[in-house]
């Protein structure tokens, strides 16, 4: 008969335990019941702050769809387990449900400690732990101007960044004399403080809050023991966590003096039928406030239930701060408490870098490290520390800046297969290598397959180097050269052209390439030159670089004829223009079709007909639609507030403005936009490179969506924008894409391959992390100012028109182009159609 297993708490660790159990054979032995106090099942607390940057509760969920049903697990959502009766072996919930258990797992986590200062429960005094807490912060930030975080630890800094991003003037008040006192030593603390202040956050250290009371200019006023005061609207406590052991105390389980449910190496409490895991558990006098140790405990219990020998023997507490632009990491024994430990420090005040290594007496083992300002060595150092790898002869080489070419990094090959790459999900190098062997060739594929790198993300650089080294071993050439003529990537070439002000392919080839070029590098360079200098693409020196369609400013079809697509901005067209289009189509007997981008495509034009067709179109008021270019194609729109009953704003007007702004911009691949007038999203903006949706609070901007072969839902980039800000962000976004993407890389793939992904992109475009925004906007303005309709330029220049003939020495058309009729229009003749026969000269 099946036994019953009850899990109290469905947080990160509780869920990790359930998932582990569901995947093991022990699952068959138990009916599983879990109590979840929060209104939703487990979500990713580690990435909680991303809730403010557009992630929804659903995005953060850690539970796969249908997980509970598929595994026969009963979950009581929004119901807190209130008491345990160890004699009867039952758990009773706040809502009055009683369940008998054979085995019980406590995964109740912890709660934020709020110091008992008088006034701590005043309005807008908040904590930072659950989604509800974040919603309260959002609401408070709407009315407030100033926010203060109490506590300058890891979490406090993250909370401060969140308050600042919510638009509040932000302060941190810390009791200790420095920030992150647990992880960082004094000198590191000084450097860290400067970094945090550079983010626009005011830091007060050595401050003891004695009272919170009515403010004069703000909702609250904080009074400190030294007599100083601080006016603030929001007070956010982040002064440490306390284990939630009340239910364990209530039934007489052993708890630690300062809290925490005491467990042994098998994670059993003082009652052998009851386990405790995660932040509520006290092992060897330690509470682990990180997720990885909790997962290790969960694995131990799953193994124990399977009858396998397993034991939790403590865990590593190394950490890396997740804040963009603030590199801080702490590894192992950062404070050199080990007997005989020796310390190396490197400090560079000018570039605000501080590094400290703690090594064993014999200088062979790395015991700990502190990195501030440059945490790029985190992965390598952590590997030395965790795997006991012997240090190089001069360990300080690991923290000194590299002045020569010699590399002191630990190559991935130096790591044993058992080396842990991802500590959040305990993924070893061996597992990563096996996944590469099984066909994962990108970091994203590895993430999906092994979960490595999906926790705090600190191991992604290491993961990437293991991947590259494995791929190289399997004979994949990890060669990023554009082609045999240029040993550079597209991004490198862009920078060379920009910095050295190179204006022609010939000049670039002479300075940086070899040979004559080919159909890979020529169009790539042609496109970069056009993006950057925006000269007429059929200028003699550029003409030979253009791809099939660009050379004749039209789209070549399978029989060598072309299709013609004039611009119809936003899909809006006056009846007389539509008639003009129809007349051209009729006169030249062109096949006519409506495109997916809300315009009209005219097919079957011979090369010699193109100028005449365009002359008529331009006279009728049309201009080039750039359908032939890797460039902005269309800005699709719905009819919006002008006509639609639900419309919130004028989507057509905005679409036309955007299309006119960016038309003609040459880019690594084609770019599509759409604008919807409300969240019903009739223009399908979330499937476009740039999508805009009107809301009551302003425009929401989505980026990097894609239809086509590999559809991708766009990511929400910024919300509630006015038109000027919207355009500023799009300018920067597009310029950055044009500068840094690979050849033929759509925005979706570009972003997915970018280290740091969406957050990084936001930090560049919104926070100007690279200090590039001025340049990016300027570049876009230059392109806008130098726009020309390429067809207008062409038909006005007789020397350019000479090429638009099938034969250079005859006015005859190509006799191989033959049409037949279908559904009342022309189409190219195919084999089997009755057609004029064409003979190719026999090959000798």
């Amino acid at each position: 008969m099946k036994q019953t297993l009850v899990v109290i708490g469905n947080g990160m660790v509780g869920q990790n335990f359930l998932a582990g159990l569901a995947a093991s054979s022990a699952k068959e032995n138990y009916d599983i019941v879990t109590f979840c106090e929060e209104p939703r099942a487990a979500y990713d607390r580690v990435h909680l702050s991303e809730f403010f940057t557009g992630k929804t509760a659903a995005d953060l969920s850690l539970v796969e769809d249908g997980f509970f049903t598929a595994n026969g697990i009963t979950i009581h959502l929004g119901d807190r387990a209130a008491t345990i009766d160890r004699e009867l072996k039952t758990v009773t919930s706040a809502k009055g449900i009683t369940v008998s258990y054979d085995k019980l797992v406590l995964a109740t986590g912890s709660y934020p400690f709020v110091p008992p200062v008088p006034g701590h429960d005043r309005p807008q005094c908040l904590v930072y732990r659950t989604i509800e807490d974040l919603e309260a912060m959002q609401a408070a930030a709407k009315t407030g101007k100033i926010g203060t975080v109490v506590g300058g630890g890891l979490l406090g800094l993250e909370a401060a960044k969140a308050l600042r991003d919510l638009g509040l003037q932000t302060h941190i008040v810390e009791f200790a004399p420095r920030l992150m006192a647990v992880q960082v030593d004094e000198a590191g603390g000084v450097m860290l403080r400067r970094k945090i202040e550079a983010l626009g956050v005011t830091v007060h250290t050595g401050k003891n809050t004695s009272l919170i009371t009515d403010g004069e200019t703000c909702v609250n006023k904080m009074c400190f023991a030294d007599g100083e005061e601080l006016e603030t609207d929001v007070v956010l406590f982040s002064a440490g966590i306390r284990p939630r052991d009340d239910i364990a105390r209530g039934c007489g389980l052993e708890v630690g003096q300062r809290g925490g449910i005491v467990i042994d190496n098998q994670c059993k409490t003082s009652d052998p039928a009851i386990y405790a895991i995660g932040e509520c558990a006290l092992w060897n006098g330690m509470i682990y406030g990180l997720v990885a140790p909790g997962y290790a405990m969960a694995r131990t219990v799953v193994a124990d239930l399977n009858g396998e020998a397993a034991s939790f023997n403590g865990a590593d507490m190394s950490t890396k701060l997740k804040l963009m632009g603030v590199d801080v990491a702490s590894i192992g024994d950062a404070h050199a408490k080990t007997q005989g430990a020796m310390v190396y420090t490197y400090q560079n005040g000018a570039s605000e870098v501080y590094k400290r290594l703690v090594v064993s007496q014999d200088k062979k083992q790395l015991l700990g490290a502190v990195l501030v300002g440059d945490a790029s060595g985190y992965g390598t150092l952590l590997q030395y520390c965790l795997n006991g790898i012997e240090l190089p002869e001069n360990p300080d080489a690991l923290i000194l800046p590299h002045r020569s070419d010699e590399s002191v990094g630990l190559g991935p090959d130096a790591l044993p297969a058992a080396a842990q790459i991802c500590s959040c999900y305990d993924v070893s190098k061996g597992v990563v290598c096996a996944a590469v062997e099984a066909g994962c060739t990108t970091v994203n594929a590895l993430k999906a397959e092994t979960k490595a790198g999906t926790g705090c993300g600190g191991c992604v650089p290491l993961l990437k180097s293991v991947l590259n080294s494995e791929l190289a071993k399997q004979g994949y050439e990890v060669n990023t050269d554009l082609c045999e003529h240029f040993p550079y990537t597209r991004q490198d070439l862009y920078n060379l052209i920009r910095v050295e002000e190179i204006k022609t392919f010939a000049e670039l080839l002479e300075k940086h390439g070899k040979g004559r070029g080919c159909e890979v590098c020529k169009p790539t360079v042609g496109s970069i030159l056009a993006s950057h200098w925006n000269e007429y693409i059929l200028k003699t020196e550029h003409l030979g670089l253009q791809d099939t369609n660009d050379t004749f400013l039209a789209n070549m079809q399978k029989d060598g004829t072309y299709s013609v697509v004039p611009r119809i901005t936003g899909g809006e067209i006056r009846p007389d223009m539509l008639i003009a289009l129809g007349q051209v189509g009729k006169k030249y007997n062109l096949y006519t079709k409506i495109t997916g981008g809300q315009r009209v495509d005219l097919f079957g034009a011979r090369v010699d007909q193109l100028p005449a067709i365009w002359k008529e179109l331009i006279d009728a008021g049309f201009e080039s639609g750039h359908a032939y270019g890797k460039s902005l194609r269309t800005v699709k729109s719905c009819v919006g507030s002008t006509w639609c009953r639900y419309g919130v704003d004028d989507s057509v007007g905005l679409a036309i403005a955007l299309e006119n702004r960016y038309k003609g911009l040459r880019s690594p691949h084609k770019i599509k936009f759409a604008v919807s007038g409300c969240t019903r999203e009739c223009a399908e903006a979330q499937g476009k490179d740039v999508g805009v949706i009107a809301t009551e609070n302003g425009w929401n901007l989505y980026v990097c969506g894609n239809g086509g072969m590999k559809p991708r839902h766009a990511d929400l980039f910024a919300t509630g924008l006015d038109k000027a800000t919207l355009i500023k962000y799009i300018d920067r976004f597009l310029s950055f894409y044009v500068r840094t993407a690979d050849r033929l890389q759509r925005t979706s793939v570009w972003m997915e391959n970018m280290e740091g992904g969406l957050d990084y992109l936001k930090s560049v475009v919104i926070d100007d992390k690279l200090g590039l925004c001025g340049q990016l906007e300027q570049q876009m303005q230059y392109v806008i100012d130098t726009y020309q309709c390429e067809w207008k330029t062409t038909i006005e220049d007789d020397s350019k028109l000479k090429r638009f003939r099938h034969f250079i020495n005859s006015d005859q058309p190509d006799d191989n182009v033959v049409f037949v009729e279908e559904r009342g229009q022309i189409r190219p003749a195919v084999a089997g159609d009755e057609r004029k026969h064409f003979t190719l000269v026999e090959v000798a």
Binding site: G544, T548, N816
Partner: protein
């Protein structure tokens, strides 16, 4: 062997192609001013079944001068007409003379 006068040298497109009618045949002419060379091959793309090679991009692959078909991007050696992706396919090539300001093509395929 007939040398046929087809066009002026200023009718050629530097680093690009044009098509000429030579005794009823379509011949693609590619002009590389750097080397002072003009290559002539038939204009018909046997993969795409269309007269388009004069509109392809030219360059070199492993030192061989080539044109890439504008339709499906197969490469053809400009000196021999052999397709790099499928050596069983070869298209006719022709001899060219630059005679002062005039371009002459030999109407007899030379391979």
């Amino acid at each position: 062997m007939a040398w046929i006068d087809v066009c002026g040298s200023d009718d050629l497109q530097p680093d690009s192609g044009v098509c000429a009618l030579v005794a009823g045949q379509q011949v693609a002419l590619f002009y590389l001013p750097e080397e002072g060379t003009v290559y002539a091959i038939h204009n018909y793309d046997p993969f795409g079944n269309a007269n388009v090679l004069s509109r392809g991009l030219i360059g070199d692959i492993n030192g061989q001068p080539v044109v890439a078909s504008p339709l499906y991007k197969q490469h053809f050696n400009l000196e021999t007409g052999v397709c790099l992706e499928d050596e069983t396919v070869q298209i006719p090539v022709y001899k060219v003379q630059i005679d002062g300001a005039r371009v002459k093509v030999n109407s007899e395929a030379s391979s």
